[in-house]
Symmetry: C2
Subunit: 404 residues, 2 copies
């Protein structure tokens, strides 16, 4: 296409591709059946034009696939950059609406035309996932912690990095993507995996059982025995009588080992075997032992089952333990929930009632599962100060824009 522009404009006035054009970038419909969109991706567009240049490698490849084009065309490509391009834009992060130009791009026709695909690519997913994050924040409420857990389900590694960046922009608190934390300074949050739990066999797997108290004043030489004592006390507690039976020892070993490594950041994934019969009592025993040494456990994560019911039952246990053993604020232990959460499931949890403090959201958030593309367009609205419009067989596709 360029070459056609090139051939036809080469001799007009001595400047190749001399026509000056104005393009508008906009979308036609808010995503997710909603009433707003959050505009994002501008910074990446600006970086793109700041660095836009054909390398000799690019030119060689283009020559190989377009042998019919004259040398002067490739010489032209070697020279172009975006120094003569002007971009007018709504600020990144703004709430925007359909058919309103988000960006207006002015410059030489052939250069601006080259920006259509990269700009639409960079704005489309960025705005979509930022909007999705903002919608999740809206349904979860301001008081909840929202964690982006999408790396493994995102559309490629770069898709995951973009997702982390734009979910943070859309109102999430942290990401589990360490590289995104490094690149953008986004707070990092995560827990251990199920495999970590199931990789332990028994408490014998723990070689070093000693743990120094938080204030450094004493060393508990056998933290494992302390945890076992607490497990016994929980079993025998009147207020918890009959709630718990024997707990899974492999899970207990994993929790103890984790607490020994991170006594100030103990957050346990409690659903590897059985949340209420094993995960919760094992967690509580380790948390109480840590408390003896001056540490405060962080909380638990639920990753399967009826999250409303399990979170409510868990909170009851925490409350009972706070009272039974007189441990201040044990009731307020953080309950994190994950497992294919999305706007609808969080809304359903809200309606049922739940005790979740933090949501870890992955697949539905980062892939924008309910609508995987925004559908931005980049339309010519003016050429050499004369207005242009594309008509269409679809009336809905006809823009109502003018360049006035």
């Amino acid at each position: 296409m360029w070459n056609a522009f090139f051939s036809s404009s080469l001799f007009i006035d001595g400047f190749v591709f001399a026509s000056r054009v104005e393009f508008d970038l906009y979308f036609r419909k808010n995503p997710f059946g909603g009433e707003f969109t959050v505009f994002a991706g501008l910074e990446e567009c600006i970086k793109f034009i700041a660095n836009f240049k054909f390398t000799e490698h690019d030119i060689l490849f283009l020559q190989s696939v377009m042998p019919m084009c004259e040398d002067a065309f490739f010489d032209y490509l070697r020279k172009i950059d975006c120094s003569d391009v002007e971009v007018y834009s709504i600020p990144e992060g703004s709430v925007v609406f359909p058919k309103v130009p988000l960006m207006r791009v002015e410059g030489p026709v052939a250069v601006v035309q080259l920006l259509e695909t990269p700009f639409v690519n960079l704005i489309n997913y960025a705005s979509l996932v930022t909007t999705n994050a903002a919608r999740h924040r809206h349904v979860a409420g301001k008081s909840k912690v929202l964690l982006e857990f999408g790396l493994r389900r995102a559309q490629g590694p770069d898709g995951a990095i973009s997702a982390s960046k734009y979910c943070f922009m859309g109102g999430f608190d942290a990401t589990s993507n360490v590289l995104a934390g490094n690149l953008f300074g986004i707070p990092l949050r995560g827990t251990h995996s199920h495999a970590y739990v199931s990789s332990y066999m028994s408490l014998d797997d723990i070689p070093d059982k000693a743990l120094m108290s938080k204030d450094g004043s004493r060393v508990c030489k056998d933290f494992v025995s302390l945890v076992k004592e607490w497990l016994q006390r929980i079993h025998l507690a009147d207020s918890l009588c009959g709630v718990f039976g024997d707990t899974n020892q492999s899970e207990l070993a994993a929790f103890v080992s984790y607490a020994l490594a991170f006594p100030s950041n103990f957050l346990a994934l409690v659903d590897t075997y059985d949340v209420m019969r094993s995960g919760i009592p094992n967690f509580c025993a380790v948390a109480l032992a840590l408390h003896d040494l001056g540490y405060k456990a962080s909380g638990i994560r639920l990753d399967s089952g009826d999250l409303a019911y399990l979170s409510i039952e868990t909170r009851k246990v925490f409350r009972t333990i706070e009272k039974e053993f007189n441990v201040p604020n044990f009731e307020k232990m953080i309950i994190t929930a994950s497992n294919d959460l999305n706007e609808e499931t969080i809304d359903a949890l809200n309606k049922q009632g739940h005790e979740v403090d933090a949501f870890g959201i992955g697949t539905y958030l980062v892939t924008c599962y309910s609508q995987a593309a925004l559908g931005c367009v980049f339309k010519l609205v003016e050429i050499n100060s004369r207005p242009r419009i594309k008509l269409s067989e679809d009336v809905t596709k006809v823009g109502l824009l003018s360049s006035c």
Copy 2:
């Protein structure tokens, strides 16, 4: 989590993270409500482990966010690579089924655990989009040309590159993504944009009207006049009488200009103004003029409207022109269709009857719109030759795998 592995294994037998584990990578359900999945992404996993290494920059960042970890832990990270990891895999491109291990990864627990997220990320989208492409090929039929047109709607620039690669693997013929063509040798195909058409005002915009015949034997000094003559002949033809009125001159100028630049590759987007009243007669006039000079036009692209009806009507016009002006094979001109196509719309076109030869598919293909994630998992099945399994509150999530 690693640090917990590290602390507990450091003193066991003199090797840190010494336990040898086996993980299986699989998915639980075929995507798109279908009965098969095409496995893809293996090459990228192999490249990942071949190059896996923590840089000093990585270590510095990890130290900054994990100040509680001991120096020996970071020294360990500096040393690890995947030289002791073994990967067994089904060949890339195989048709695979739920719950069957696609890859089995063996090695030191801490190293293999680090591979969970990148492997799941790399396999998930690759297999999903390859499967989606294969499904589109199945519904379109073997005889149709399938073009991947997804760059602007993919989830980020890297998502687009992956899409082009894996759609080709899944049975597509070409891509419009020039970088993917360069990186992977995928054939490139595309047409001009609507903006190209609407950027022209009139035939006066064409400065150089000369075109040499294909065999180089003569020069047509005024190709524009030749096209005008053909447009007149089409208007006056008995067999086409009354079908066409005045055509859009801006569109005609764009087509002529494109044909002058690419006389052997003239493929026109005919829906900028009105397909049957303007796009098709303008295209035919240019194609017939090119034919006079020994060239063969490629065809047209429809990007809006009722694609079944428009393709059938267009084919009728091509057939009539072949007979009226005795131009062999004019009837066989390629009709390409695009505009939010997917499996369902192609199936509907098949049922209605259509004359489309090539489909350009973007959004629904590359974002896997109807199911945007596959949901691969990476589960521990053996540690130090002892089998392990993760149970779950969700019975469907419990694997039936053994390492036997």
